[in-house]
Symmetry: C2
Amino acid sequence: MSAPSRPEPNYFGAGPALLPTNVLEEAAADLLNYQSLGVGVGEMSHRSSQATDIINETKENFNKILNIPDTHEVFFAQGGGTGGFAAVVYNMLASFAQKTGKKGKVDYFITGAWSQKASEEAERLGADVNIVADARKFNNGKYGVIPAKSEWKFSDPSETAYVYYCDNETVAGVEFAEVPEVPEGVELVADMSSNILSKELDVSKFGLIFGGAQKNIGIAGVSFYVIKKSLLDRLPQKEANALGIQVCPIFLDFPSIVKNNSAYNTVSILCIHIINLVLKNLLAKGGLSAQESLSKRKAQKVYSILDQNPALFNLPVDKSARSNMNIVFTINGEGNEEKFLKGSSARGLSGLKGHRSVGGIRVSNYNAVTEESIDKLIEFVKDFIKEASV
Amino acid sequence: MSAPSRPEPNYFGAGPALLPTNVLEEAAADLLNYQSLGVGVGEMSHRSSQATDIINETKENFNKILNIPDTHEVFFAQGGGTGGFAAVVYNMLASFAQKTGKKGKVDYFITGAWSQKASEEAERLGADVNIVADARKFNNGKYGVIPAKSEWKFSDPSETAYVYYCDNETVAGVEFAEVPEVPEGVELVADMSSNILSKELDVSKFGLIFGGAQKNIGIAGVSFYVIKKSLLDRLPQKEANALGIQVCPIFLDFPSIVKNNSAYNTVSILCIHIINLVLKNLLAKGGLSAQESLSKRKAQKVYSILDQNPALFNLPVDKSARSNMNIVFTINGEGNEEKFLKGSSARGLSGLKGHRSVGGIRVSNYNAVTEESIDKLIEFVKDFIKEASV
């Protein structure tokens, strides 16, 4: 039995994103026959000993790679990032209510499309939403900056269930350079769907980190959560509901999921196994310290060549807020963007079209995008510049 | 590039369940390189033209195989069957409220662990639950029958948002022989997680059919829904909430999902692609008419050998309610069940242990379990009987 393989792709899609070829080779073989059991990893009971081993090993590797303290717990659920937007509201409000007897306010940073959607979901679910800062107010109505700290307007800390932000915005290409400082005692919630595992992280700063898996860490069909264990102590749903908190569907109820080791309902063991393969692959390559250097170096190469040609390339994001994961730009000169996409495609470089809502070009620089791919792109950009300036 | 393969498994696990080897071979190859694009089916944008083609083709094949009328629509979502329990409540109550201005009552048949869980989720979410019939009341406190029609107690039809039942209960091994008749004008909702595609179905009888994919139709990570289109007309969530209906998280909001062709948020294109491969495989083998004959014949072979040896085997389920998908029994004589499991395992027959809550033996007879596997099992059972009666 030999696993399928492929030539190394040069693919810069924004997500679902590239995964390392060796990870997919192993996953493909395991889809047919896992550990010589005779059946595949997608066909085993999620409560079998093999599945439990996969879940436990994935959690251990998650703990190891992110250096997660004992105060925090890793778990997996369904619903993706968008499911997470809702899960955050239900669960964090009920935790705060357990501690204070109150519903609590929720504070949202809005720095791009994803944090905007998350705040809208909180509103839909009846949360009392305060916007800490909306980046558009400080950048002519467009995303592209992280508002200055002096502009942040938090709610009264004693009333605040949590502060929410999206660490990396894939559409706008905006990333927080540092974890935002929040008022003492207030829980911080981060959507890290698109930059988890790209850099080192002090998990102790967070009440909750979550994300859909389909960027740096796996494929769609599962979400990851890292929660401060004390937040699992929450008001029972009936009492929480009496305070105006919506009832959480049971499959997104954090305490139920954790109590059942992520197998309250049928979580995808294939998806968790792929996360584990990604984590093992990254640990073997030096973990997050090595990855952070690599991510920054790759991104810097792209930003650098673009910055050197300001007559041709427009980079809408403020330098202090530039994402290492999603590099967005537009190209001056009629027809130049089409020429760029066509030319890059002819060289086997794909997935470069900007998000439909903003247009232009987007270079996604996730973990599985190799430095060789970035170098090939740079070579193309150099040739493009020569031709464009003729 | 050659896909991995495997010897044909003889696996009777209850789910996540076996899939056809040729389906997994194709999926494994596509995980690395889909249609020679150079990237895999799990790495493509869920809004790419390739992903849209996969979703559309899967819907078409779903329509074809189940002969779904124009009045109904197929879509895919996250959350599994348990997510579906909640999604049903939110969406069906809001549809009924749109039609009547009222919250409505919900009627549940309880015939096993899954319909019981579904009714509990409806209760949690504040629905006004009426139990049409609880099978345990008619079978000494245990599941194992479908209550007689004369015992069914429906709510007033003008007040009823929907009647819910689980067509096949995997733990108890109970299956409805016929679609239950409900009062004129009341919408019928069916959980068909574990027996979809095992038999022909008159979809026009249903308001909604749903299920997790990981039995007959795919792998965990996606759920399927077939909804009567008129039910997509629902009261806006704020007005619905004012009537006491909980707000649906946006990623489970049926109208939003359908409007976005199942790609409102990042649905797993790999999981949908596997559904499509399963559907194509089944269509090539004669569709549901052929599958129904095969399913019944396979199940009958097992029930028959067990029925012939009543001193040894106890079949707790009433003959009229026997499942063609999950055949449950216990074995008389101390140590005989262990002997059965050990002996079958030695012959390469696996996944036969009963659910932890009921014990005994469970033979799951899903579509991907071949008649050859069933025949091997029968041969083992015959030898087991000989030895046991010595």
